[in-house]
Every structure is written in C-alpha cells, then in structure tokens.
C-alpha cells in the first residue's frame, strides 16, 4: 500500500519535473528541475531495493553532472534576458506526440505480457557487496574499459577546453 502511494508520488514528480525542464527558457531553471527529477528517480531506485544505485545517482548525476552543467551555463553567462524567445515547432511536436501515442497503443495491444509478480529477493539485494561481487567477477573487463573511457574523456575535455595561447 505504501509502496503504491510512494511509487505514484515519485513517478508523478519525475514526469512533472522533466516536463517543466523541457518547457523553460531559462537554462539554469531547466537544470534545477532536472536535479529534482534525478532526486525523485533516486527515490524510485530505493523503492526498487537498489540503494547503491540510488546513492550513485545522487552523487554522480545530481551532484557532479548537473553541477558541471550549471557551471558551464554560468561561465558562458547565459542570462535570461540574453536568450531569445525560441519558437516551438508545435506542429512537429504534435506529430511526434501522436506517433508515439499510437505506437504505445499498438505495443499495449499486441504485446500482452502476462503480469507476473516480482520475484522474491534476498535482504542483501542491491547492496554494495552484492554489486561488487558481480562487478568484479563477471564484468571486470567492462569495468577496466570504463576507467580508460573516463580517463580519455577527462583528457579530451581538458584539451577541448584549453584556450589557444597566442
């Protein structure tokens, strides 16, 4: 019962925040709405018994990636009065919305998966130790490759951001 209520609360907050993020002219307002959306997503992860991923979501997405976004917006000094009013392509948006709604209706009708309940999980499901066990045994090669990827991204970002010295 509480799970149902909490799910609906957090999912509606997420959808509302993402909608608000899309239709804002001020980029920092968009960024803050996205931060709140990430928060409610982290709450949904906790509901799905994934506390490690929830904390990672707040630490990485809300705490680092969005800080980077807001930093760049502040550095480029995009104030609200300097932004032009964008024209929304309402026709385009309406077409896409209709296409997606139709696709959803089709999927719902023709792919009727029987609703099975969630399987029972142990108490240590989603905890750090369990994630670590799988990460370092089955997925150790992607783990090492991800570290190289992040190193390459850091080098790339620094190189791109450097100002040319005269």
């Amino acid at each position: 019962m509480t799970e149902t209520v909490l799910f609906y609360i957090f999912s509606s907050i997420t959808v509302l925040m993402v909608l608000l993020m899309i239709f804002q002219t001020n980029p920092i307002a968009s960024a803050m709405f996205l931060v709140f959306a990430f928060f409610s997503l982290a709450a949904l992860y906790v509901l799905l018994q994934a506390p490690f991923v929830a904390m990672l979501q707040i630490m990485v997405y809300a705490g680092a990636v969005m800080v980077l976004f807001i930093f760049v917006i502040m550095l480029l000094n995009l104030h609200r009065d300097e932004l032009e009013r964008e024209r929304f392509h309402w026709k385009q948006a309406g077409l896409i919305a209709m296409a997606l709604a139709f696709a959803g209706f089709l999927i719902n009708h023709f792919v009727k998966i029987p609703v099975l309940p969630f399987r029972e999980v142990s108490a240590s499901f989603g905890e750090v130790a369990s994630v670590g066990k799988v990460l370092f045994s089955d997925y150790v090669i992607p783990f090492e490759l991800t570290s190289i990827l992040i190193l390459v991204a850091v080098i790339g970002a620094v190189l791109l951001g450097k100002k040319e010295l005269e």
Partner: protein
C-alpha cells in the same frame, strides 16, 4: 499493486519526454540535458528488470551507463564551450554553414 509494467511504462514515458525535448528545443544545453533524461529512463528500466528477475546484472549495467553518461556529458559540454567561443550562439538553428 505495482507491477513491472508500471515501471516499464514510466521508463517509456520518460524516454518519450526526453526524445520530445530533444526534438523540440534548439538550445544546445537543453538538448544535452534531454539526452541525460534519455539515459536515466534506460537506467530505470534496467533497475526495474533487475528487481523483477532477481539478478544483480541490471545494477552493474546501470553503473556503467552512469559512468558513460557522465563522460559523455563532460565531453559534450567541452565541445559546447568551444562552439560558443567560436560562434557566440547556442541555438542549433544558427549552425547552418553546411546547408549550401
């Protein structure tokens, strides 16, 4: 009673909204943020299915998706900064030099 369909439906809805935002908006930063929304929708789907099937692999893949998304956001923002320095504008409709 919350079933897997609720979570998958929410993930699909978030993906759709992110896609909508990506197509509608012309401001490059907002477009990058919509890409983050796309990746988060996929993350939610992974975690929900991991819970449904009692497998930890979903959490691990979600961890990788987060790492890749962070790296991509960093490089994307660096490219954006260079673009802004050269063109002084961030509207995607202003980058039309190759349009012939």
């Amino acid at each position: 009673m919350i079933t897997i369909h609720h979570y998958l439906g929410l993930s699909a809805l978030l993906f759709t909204l992110g896609l909508l935002g990506l197509v509608i908006r012309k401001n490059l930063i907002i477009m990058l943020m919509c890409i983050e929304v796309l990746m988060n929708a996929v993350n939610l789907s992974f975690i929900a299915i991991a819970r449904y099937l009692n497998l930890m692999d979903g959490h691990v893949v979600s961890f990788f998706v987060m790492a890749v998304a962070a790296a991509e956001a960093a490089v994307g923002l660096a490219i954006l900064v260079v673009l802004f320095r050269n063109r002084q504008t961030l509207q995607s409709s202003d980058y039309h030099l190759l349009r012939g």
